[in-house]
Subunit: 343 residues, 2 copies
């Protein structure tokens, strides 16, 4: 991962999608059973990255819980991400940001560095779960596409492999979380969503990134074997795919669907651009977002050192910036918000 | 912190001191009450750094516990260190090393990035604690000494300030741990120890480091204001100081002293040197150890970037290596091992 706060500074999209989920998370925090005062309350944040986007939802949930249990009941907040995540930035964010929940002396933050496709907690351990813009990342890449760093956009058997992996991982993610939740526990999930027709809202931006990587290959900046390893192992789902595990009432995955919504997100950068006509400013935001979200996964395919990886990300960002400046476009992102309860 | 596994690779001294504590830790694991099978067992590793030196003691404790409770009772292992610790290396070590306990599917590792002079867990949460070569680090520096990066070696009022801080922090460390332990819980601590006369076993090595830093200042490699900020905030204690909080039976800190030992450690590098006469090899070990243990704290005083900090550490290591090559010396380290029980 690139780390050093890059994700914290370039994840406004993820934050605005998660903002829509706040009332849902608030309601979840208000509904979990808390009778047994002898034990701490456990909140899990699945796929926390560097933590910035977790502070507001978690602080909100803690305020709701404090109203219910008073100031002295211990609350354990556990942030999870992959082992290579920048946990130093995560802890700096938790301990240093003014909007952090760490001011509450009876809140105990910690972190887990393990894939959420494995068991992260003992069974029946978690009271309340939050996962925002994380479960679209697959447990493994079904393989790189020859002409696209986004394998899910490929055709034929590879497209099928992404579809299968996307379905299997979604069910696995939900099943693991169900095991970790206590009886009556709740889980709120935000995910980027395609529309019903399966259109990706930022197709032009993905094209720009793809063209930039192709250019780096043509210019010899990256080697063929490095390009062949480059693959963004994400699988954004349609609403039907997102809801599929709950078609049987969620019995298969062990989670009941309390509510779901699929919302279009306002493209604030585009609105700003329509006002000021500043294409380079729009392009800088798009490129910064892309770099922070996907740069580390692409750069991990390089055989060079940190400096080579940073240089790659610099070039990627510059190439996207140039292309978006030439062809600015609106991006109407969609967010899926699910509220789930343990059976 | 320098991170990237530097501590993992250069902390043989700490590992050999901790090795003497293994039977003590084994006994502690065997004696904690585990009747309530409905809850996970919690093991805390206070001051874990990059984790390598924790694997053997924690794996041992887990084997003892598994014999007592069987394979399926969940065990939560929580590694703590400062927020700036290299948690990425820590998680890579836990998940990747063959001698790790992570092969046990019912062990759940996590980490806390917060000073152990604060509360890290809810009250009565921890069953078994381990802390190796950590509690000699002070909560804050009582101030830099003008001519020595090791302030505890100063004289006059500053020496007194180190003494006071060393006493206050030791009591604070113990008090916080007592609060976190469950009734009947145990804590095993390894600490570097001075002899009764207060002599530091590696005085010549500290002198070599000090002279190297002085040389960097004279050569303009570091600025005066950077040198003035450089201060290793450690306070190694005499046996009497280590045992002082238990003079009243430990009532003041809330921990009963089950056993204590103060042992001399064999200087393996010196024995090897006496066999092969290879002074540069001895010097490389000493310098690598010093850099991994104290380099990050010194480099944090620099105003430059990561590259400047790495350059500083390179020069520090080279200077120590040169000086030790010129004047090889035996280092008879001592280790204090305490076994403590919650009152």
């Amino acid at each position: 991962m690139e780390g050093r706060g890059a994700y914290n500074l370039n994840s406004a999209l993820q934050a605005s999608g998660a903002a829509l989920a706040l009332p849902v998370f608030e309601q979840a925090a208000d509904s979990i059973p808390l009778e047994d005062a002898s034990r701490p309350i456990v909140i899990a944040d699945y796929g926390a990255s560097e933590g910035r986007n977790s502070l507001i939802p978690l602080s909100l949930a803690i305020r709701v819980l404090r109203k219910r249990v008073g100031p002295s009941r211990p609350i354990c907040v556990v942030h999870t991400d992959l082992p290579a995540n920048d946990f130093r930035s995560l802890f700096a964010t938790i301990e240093g940001e003014p909007e952090s929940y760490a001011g509450d002396a009876c809140v105990f933050p910690s972190a887990i560095g393990r894939s959420f496709y494995a068991a992260l907690f003992p069974n029946s351990f978690v009271d309340l779960g939050w996962s925002s813009y994380a479960a679209q990342w697959l447990s493994r890449s079904p393989g790189p596409a020859p002409n696209d760093i986004f394998g899910f956009r490929s055709a034929g058997p590879l497209r099928r492999a992404y579809f299968d992996q996307g379905r299997a991982d979604w069910e696995l993610f939900l099943t693991k979380r169900a095991a970790e939740l206590r009886a009556g526990g709740r889980l709120v999930i935000c995910l980027p969503s395609l529309d019903e027709a399966g259109q990706h809202p930022a197709a032009l931006l993905l094209d720009a990134a793809n063209a930039t990587v192709g250019e780096m290959l043509a210019d010899g900046v990256i080697a063929t074997y490095e390009r062949e390893r480059m693959c963004i192992a994400v699988y954004p789902r349609t609403p039907a795919e997102t809801l599929a595990p709950f078609a049987d009432g969620g019995l298969g995955v062990g989670l009941r669907l309390i509510s779901n919504s699929f919302s279009r997100l306002e493209d604030r950068a585009w609105i700003r651009y329509r006002e000021d006509g500043d294409a380079p400013a729009l392009a800088a935001k798009r490129a910064g977002f892309f770099r922070a979200t996907f740069g580390p996964a692409l750069a991990s395919a390089l055989s060079g050192d940190d400096i080579a990886r940073r240089d790659f990300c610099d070039r990627l960002e510059a190439g996207i910036r140039r292309r978006v400046t030439d062809q600015p476009a609106e991006i109407v992102n969609r967010v899926a918000i699910l509220s789930l309860a343990k059976y």
